[in-house]
């Protein structure tokens, strides 16, 4: 049974138990644990913190892991496992430099201290260091980072024989070859790939419940196709991919992780037809669109598609989940949707650009997000002067991350409890800011003139940056549940994750109807008694009304 109080849930987390709690309660429980650490005499044990962080990472609540881990690090210093969990969370959140700093600190402990816990974790630190280098290489294209990433994975693979690291060594070595880096000694890539494939087959036979060995086998075959193009490895790779996708434990996160590897490390393009990896990427893309009614797009693909819209027709015309027109409209949204990050690069939320006139403001474009993401007064939000806004499409075009800073706060309204419908005062959980600089050629998102009616076919789609990964379109199970009588709040069943705060909520014409701000498994119904699982958005109409832009 789910715990109903913050206290009960924090105790549960400290025992390493999860139980699918409401997100709001979970955030409060994590904050409670972090607050406990501020008291020197607190009885919270090291093991409890490790367990809580491990379970939060497993369920991808990286922001909460970071909250607890940072509190530990600030008050207690470096612990072998806390450091590892915290570094993992920071990597997932995109704070690569901060993660690197933690890993350096831990590796130093492993080499210079008698604490064997650090020594035992050292291969993990190296593996994570490899991941940091890999992600930074993907982001900036620096081949020195590519080399460093391969070295780190190799060290980990030699030490532990872990398949995941082995397959990363293979993928990164092929990238090294493509970049013309000096050849390495030891086993060749095909030798490594055959060894990893054999081990993955064996692991799959021994543990049928683990989907990862199937993805690894797929990737090993992909590497063999690269080195032995005439031997039919692509068909083998495709076969393993279908096995992976059909595996009951291959959940959306597992599929997305593998898909990201194919796109980012192998340069797979779901709309391309040139290579085996394109073929695999296309299979995953269509599988996700069909089974999850969700569509992720990385900025590079979005830009390619914008230049070659005929590719959409070719690849998606047979799909019923989205029309080609839908996809075209969705792509056009990408440049206007941004990520709110802190000074260390951690993703704190989403936001979007709209014409200032939509809010009665004399600005070409303004940036809209939640007050619990950016505010001068709301606890745990980013201060405006600390916040940075990035737009992935722009950063990819520029070849390096581009951050925009806030010029001034134009309007803000603090958050209200989920499902609370009051006529006055209106608490809208919104902050609207002007930016000192803007991405070029961005027009902002279109505003819906009307609030949709809840009906069995009325949808509410979310687009944002959930945790890590590319811009994600949540179109699965996206039913609009209800709208409050003041047309201020709307509830929808659209799945959301941390990082979705501040996301635009769209109607099926891809016009913004609301600003997403929270979710709850036990939200009060907007009309009538009772509770249900719902996500909640603040209507643009309510924001406009509060700003005097609408009567």
């Amino acid at each position: 049974m789910n715990p109903q109080t913050v206290e009960a849930l924090s105790s549960q987390l400290k025992r390493g138990e999860y139980g699918d709690p409401p997100l709001q309660l979970l955030a409060e429980a994590a904050q409670r644990i972090a607050d406990e650490l501020a008291v020197p005499s607190a009885r919270t044990t090291q093991q409890e913190i490790r367990s809580a962080m491990q379970v939060l990472n497993r369920h991808r609540h990286f922001d909460l892991t970071r909250l607890i881990g940072q509190a530990w690090h600030d008050t207690r210093g470096c612990d072998a496992r806390v450091q590892k969990h915290l570094a993992q969370a920071l990597i997932e959140l995109g704070a690569f430099d901060a993660a690197d700093g933690l890993l350096d600190e831990a590796i130093q402990q492993a080499t210079g201290s008698a604490n064997l816990e650090f020594v035992a974790e050292a291969p993990e630190y190296q593996g994570l260091r490899g991941r940091v280098r890999k992600q930074k290489f993907v982001q900036g294209g620096d081949v020195n980072l590519l080399r460093a990433a391969t070295d780190a994975y190799l060290q980990q693979y030699i030490a532990t024989g872990a398949l995941w690291h082995g397959v990363n060594v293979i993928a990164l070595r092929l990238r090294e070859d493509r970049h013309g880096l000096p050849a390495r000694g030891g086993d060749s890539v095909p030798q490594l790939a055959r060894a990893v494939l054999e081990k993955a087959r064996d692991a799959g036979r021994r543990n049928a419940r683990d989907p990862w060995s199937l993805a690894i086998a797929c990737e090993a075959c992909l590497a063999l196709q690269d080195t032995e193009p005439a031997a039919g490895w692509c068909d083998q790779s495709e076969l393993w991919l279908y096995r992976f996708l059909a595996h009951p434990a291959a959940d959306p996160f597992a599929i997305e992780s593998y898909y990201r590897q194919l796109r980012e490390v192998w340069n797979g393009n779901p709309l391309g037809t040139d290579s085996c990896v394109d073929r695999l990427a296309g299979i995953i893309e269509r599988h996700v669109a069909r089974t999850q009614r969700r569509w992720s797009v990385d900025p590079r693909s979005a830009m390619d598609l914008a230049k070659h819209p005929e590719e959409l027709e070719k690849n998606f015309s047979g799909e019923k989940a989205f029309t080609v027109g839908d996809l075209r409209n969705m792509l056009a949204l990408c440049p206007s949707i941004g990520c709110v990050i802190d000074a260390s690069g951690v993703r704190m939320g989403t936001g979007f650009l709209m014409a200032g006139s939509a809010f009665g403001l004399q600005f070409d474009l303004v940036f809209v997000t939640n007050a619990h993401v950016i505010s001068d007064t709301v606890p745990r939000s980013l201060r405006p002067e600390e916040a940075r806004i990035t737009f992935e499409t722009e950063s990819v075009s520029a070849g390096a991350p581009r951050a925009h800073i806030i010029d001034r706060v134009l309007f803000t309204s603090e958050p209200e409890e989920v499902g609370r419908v009051l006529e006055k005062p209106e608490k809208l959980d919104v902050t609207i800011v002007s930016l000192k600089t803007l991405p070029a050629d961005v027009k902002g998102l279109a505003r819906a003139t009307n609030i949709p009616l809840p009906a069995p076919t009325t949808k509410a789609f979310l687009v944002g940056h959930p945790r890590a990964g590319p811009l994600q379109f949540s179109v699965h199970d996206s039913l609009l549940l209800d709208v409050c009588r003041y047309e201020r709040i709307m509830h929808y069943r659209t799945p959301t994750e941390a990082g979705s705060s501040g996301s635009p909520v769209f109607n099926s014409k891809w016009e913004v109807v609301a600003l997403h701000h929270a979710g709850s498994q036990k939200a009060r119904r907007l009309n009538g008694p009772g509770e249900y699982q719902a996500n909640e958005g603040i209507t643009l109409r309510a924001i406009r009304r509060a700003m005097g832009a609408e009567g």
């Binding site: 029309t323 027109g325 279109a446 003139t449 009307n450 609030i451 949709p452 009616l453 009906a455 076919t457 009325t458 109607n507 099926s508 014409k509 891809w510 016009e511």
Partner: protein
């Protein structure tokens, strides 16, 4: 209260159950890019739920055809290319008791109405194609494109009879024995729906098709209790037929006119090859302008050999633009 409410009024022949008919009409209006040949893309639809516009459906097919609805609907959205065959016409369009004209005026009405509609040049019937799917249900007729000549004639005959029962307020006895005074019953039903609509929205937009256009005009012009309507759409309407106008003219008047007391704007949508409105598809010259208000006639393409299909009219770009304007929504 919402700014606008839509009231739909359906046309002739047997219909699927009310909720299915409404679903088909909403689909017809909302589907994007429905027929690139007739209306080049992009041609966005209007989803009333997305636009926050409540809609009510005024249903009266049961007065003539009872409630023996079909229950299988799986294929009806695929029926656009299906053909209605004479052999199953009654199953598709419903059986109507033959009219029994009581006097010369009624006899003349039936003969002239039918003659004028059959006289209209319409697209040729499709060549016999044994592989073409056959329409078997009323729901499929709602979106069918292809009607062979004999079927068209039979449906026109049915239209004449329905108009007759309504305009002459005849008592109609259904198969199950239930009796209705047709004009009174249809007036009451629409008035009730309009009252409900008035409670939901500040402005009513009335979208009517075929025989339903007669009911709408009659209520707007001849029922003093009719609430104000912002915009009336008449689509594929027989209101241009002189014999119909003769029966709808208001008491004390010698010509049909714009119902200015209850209506702000009237847009009449027609395809000249639609047999139901083809005899006289334009109304501006028939319905006398009052206080500067007159009917706005608008030609819109339908397609296939049966140019009366409502879901095809709903696909029209001009029509959609006018509806969007009437509802204050943006087409995207």
């Amino acid at each position: 209260m919402k700014k606008y409410t839509v009231v739909f009024v359906h046309g002739l022949a047997k219909k699927p159950p009310p909720e299915k008919l409404e679903e088909i009409w909403r689909w017809g209006l909302s589907r994007p890019d429905p027929n690139n040949d007739a209306f080049p893309n992009p041609n966005p639809g209007i989803d009333l739920d997305v636009e926050g516009v409540p809609a009510l459906f005024n249903y009266y097919a049961d007065v003539f055809y009872g409630e023996d609805y079909e229950s299988e609907f799986e294929s009806y959205y695929e029926a656009e290319n299906a053909v209605v065959q004479p052999g199953n016409l009654d199953a598709v369009a419903g059986e109507l008791k033959p009219a029994q004209p009581a006097n010369e005026r009624e006899r003349r009405f039936l003969a002239e109405f039918e003659r004028k509609m059959n006289a209209q040049p319409t697209p040729p019937a499709p060549p016999a194609d044994p592989s073409a799917p056959v329409v078997t249900e009323a729901a499929e007729l709602e979106i069918a494109s292809w009607l062979p000549g004999p079927v068209k004639e039979a449906i026109i005959k049915k239209a004449a009879m329905e108009a007759y029962y309504f305009l002459f307020d005849k008592e109609y006895q259904r198969k199950d024995g239930r009796r209705f005074k047709v004009r009174q019953e249809l007036r009451n039903r629409l008035l009730e729906v309009l009252d409900k609509a008035g409670q939901q929205g500040e402005n009513i937009v009335l979208v009517t098709h075929s025989m339903g256009t007669m009911v709408a005009y009659d209520v707007l012009r001849n029922c003093p209790s009719c609430p104000p309507v912002d915009t009336l759409f008449t689509i594929g309407s027989p209101l241009g037929v002189q014999e119909v106008q003769d029966e709808l003219v208001a008491e004390g008047e010698n010509q049909v006119d714009f119902p200015v007391a209850t209506l702000r704007r009237w847009i009449n949508v027609y395809d000249p090859k639609d047999p139901v409105c083809g005899a006289d598809p334009r109304f501006a010259n028939d319905y006398k302008a009052v206080a500067g208000k007159s009917v706005e006639d608008m030609e819109e393409s339908n397609w296939g050999s049966w140019r009366h299909t409502i879901t095809h009219y709903f696909a029209g770009k001009l029509f959609r633009a006018r509806v969007a304007e009437a509802l204050g929504v943006q087409l995207r």
